[in-house]
């Protein structure tokens, strides 16, 4: 079950993160000792098993530390929808509110909490543990990002279903969440990881994560038609917007699947790029 979710959570990424075969051979060649007296090196952990191990370990952390925060994320989103019920009266606006609130859970956990986690890990010297193990940097970053994306699944599902009931929206195409959560999760978790690993101080990582989440809240939940043009451009720059639009489009009786796929494609591209940056930032943070 977990393994399946893992597959979803990172499906966009390996193409970017796995070194091409030639590069791997070159690395292996470089690792051969230059003189005969050198001891053989122990084998390094391979990407996929290491990624699974990190993912599993991170998921287990949820039991200890994250469950209260998952409730917070869900309550916050449901609360916002209840408030917005007095403002919007069905139609396009209701769709925007429900899908915005759903993706907000992803932004809260994957962007905000992951930025905090990596910020604190880096500041406290916790990265040393991973840096002194023969594990590919991508495995650590992707494993953590996939786990945080997974943490968002229950909250997003609960929020979206509650929203559909509140605003009487059809649930026919809600299966699209199976693509929206991992892809917007990859984009936002990648951004969160990159922020956490690049911020010079952990407080800045927390601040950036909070700001990112606030932006997702304001620009995602509030209906786009009511915003000034300048803010509309900012909205286009935020990766969560594309997750929101993809989800909103599927409340139509006959959704424009091409547009949905295009929006999710943007999420995937941002995810791949931000996770690649996060991996680079991890490598930089781990060896000073």
């Amino acid at each position: 079950m977990r393994q399946e979710r893992l597959g979803e959570g990172v499906s966009v990424v390996p193409a970017q993160a796995v070194p091409v075969p030639g590069a791997r051979d070159a690395l292996e060649a470089a690792a051969r000792p230059e003189d005969g007296r050198a001891a053989p090196l122990a084998p390094a952990a391979r990407l996929l098993p290491a990624l699974c191990a990190v993912y599993r370990a991170q998921l287990s952390r949820a039991r200890v530390a994250r469950i209260p925060l998952l409730f917070v994320a869900t309550f916050q989103s449901v609360g916002i929808m209840v408030l917005m019920r007095g403002v919007v009266d069905g139609g396009d606006e209701a769709r925007a509110v429900v899908s915005g609130a759903g993706v907000l859970v992803v932004a809260f956990v994957a962007l905000n909490l992951l930025a905090q986690y990596f910020g604190q890990l880096r500041a406290s010297g916790g990265l040393d543990h991973y840096a002194t193990l023969p594990v590919p940097p991508a495995a650590v970053v992707l494993g953590a990002a996939a786990a945080y994306a997974s943490f968002t699944v229950p909250g997003t599902v609960v929020t979206t279903v509650t929203g559909c009931l509140l605003f009487q929206l059809p649930m026919t195409h809600l299966w699209v969440l199976a693509a929206v959560i991992p892809l917007s999760g990859a984009a936002l978790a990648g951004l969160g990881a990159a922020l956490g690993l690049l911020a010079p101080r952990p407080e800045l990582a927390t601040l950036c994560g909070q700001l990112g989440m606030s932006a997702a809240l304001l620009l995602g939940v509030l209906p786009a038609e009511r915003l000034p043009a300048a803010i509309d451009y900012a909205r286009d720059l935020l990766p969560s917007t594309y997750g929101v639009e993809a989800l909103a489009a599927t409340f139509d009786a006959r959704p424009d699947w091409l547009a949905v796929a295009a929006d999710l494609g943007v999420c995937a591209a941002v995810g791949a790029l931000s996770l690649a940056i996060a991996t680079w930032a991890y490598r930089r943070a781990a060896t000073r």
Partner: protein, 324 residues
């Protein structure tokens, strides 16, 4: 096995935050360190906090790049290829934050997987290590719910999984009770006897250094000020003994012999510590165990030199080493 030559690492000066005077000057944390560690040896780095021990081991483990100098471990140049360190050695750092929210069993198993073990191997080794260190009762508890000593022992378990022929341990027994310490040293001895494992150990605990180390490098202000067996180091100050006097209230300075000792004593509260040639120490003991001086005396000990005395005799800064 492990050779370090002329290692230099300087931390740049940092500017203080606005509103505070604190401007830290540049620190030469490794100031031309050279050492050789032999195979199968338990080699110690002894010195007070801030002496540069951790900086040195962070360079050995590839976490920190030296400004200059060379590090060779098992024939591999770790300055040019720091990433190889992870495949040659196991490292126990001072922080456990990466593992804090995992259970002991999962922390050990995950570390094994990340050290390249297969799933089944990792589980089997996890069980063996958990049993060996007596962690079975707390294997299902999260590290951050454990006491400091138990958590340290759990972190030590993560170093043992996925065998490495060199273990680099930064103050492994901090906060541990004697039972846990015993478990650590037994595990280290077993790996040395069975597989010829080598250990580089950072400590500021003098008693531990004397009882477990084969050789010790005394580090002060980024330099190795001496390197020998504990016995060899103690021979350097062999003629002297240490006399500790603890007074009940205030020292009886009206006794001439006591007044004479006062000038040579290092005073810490009611305790005087003196380093004297053996004959003078005997005379001093005779003087303070008779008459009015004895009435004012709470306790005294006469001891042969410890590594702390060696450290002080070599010109190390006075405080910072721990006894016991």
């Amino acid at each position: 096995m492990c050779a370090v030559r002329d290692l230099v690492k300087t931390y740049p000066a940092t500017r203080g935050r606005r509103g505070s005077e604190g401007r830290a000057p540049a620190v030469r944390a490794s100031d031309g360190i050279s050492l050789d560690v032999h195979r199968g040896e338990i080699f110690g780095l002894l010195g007070p906090n801030g002496a540069g021990k951790s900086t040195l081991v962070r360079q050995l483990t590839g976490l920190l790049r030296p400004d200059s100098g060379s590090i060779s471990v098992l024939g591999h140049d770790l300055v040019r290829h720091p990433e190889r360190a992870a495949r040659l050695l196991g490292y126990l750092g001072q922080e456990s934050t990466a593992l804090d929210e995992m259970t002991v069993a999962l922390a050990v198993e995950t570390t094994g997987r990340l050290r390249g073990l297969g799933a089944r191997e990792a589980r089997a080794e996890r069980d063996a290590v958990v049993d060996e260190l007596g962690l079975a009762d707390i294997a299902g508890r999260a590290l951050k719910k454990l006491s400091g000593g138990q958590r340290r022992l759990a972190c030590f378990a993560t170093v043992l999984i996925g065998e490495r022929s060199l273990l680099v341990l930064d103050e492994p027994t901090t906060g541990m009770d004697p039972v846990a310490r015993r478990a650590v040293w037994d595990a280290v001895d077993r790996r040395r006897a069975e597989r010829g494992a080598t250990v580089v150990l950072v400590t500021h605990n003098v008693l531990e250094a004397e009882s477990v180390l084969d050789r010790v490098a005394v580090i002060d202000r980024g330099r190795v000020i001496a390197c020998d067996t504990p016995g060899g180091l103690k021979d350097m100050v062999g003629e002297e003994v240490r006399l500790d006097l603890v007074w009940r209230d205030r020292p009886p300075l009206d006794v001439p012999e006591v007044a004479e000792l006062a000038s040579a004593a290092r005073v810490s509260g009611r305790r005087w510590t003196l380093r004297l040639p053996a004959d003078r120490a005997r005379a001093a003991v005779a003087a303070v165990t008779a008459g009015p001086a004895f009435a004012a005396l709470d306790d005294f000990t006469l001891a042969t030199p410890s590594l702390e005395d060696v450290y002080l005799a070599l010109g190390g800064r006075a405080e910072g080493l721990v006894k016991g």
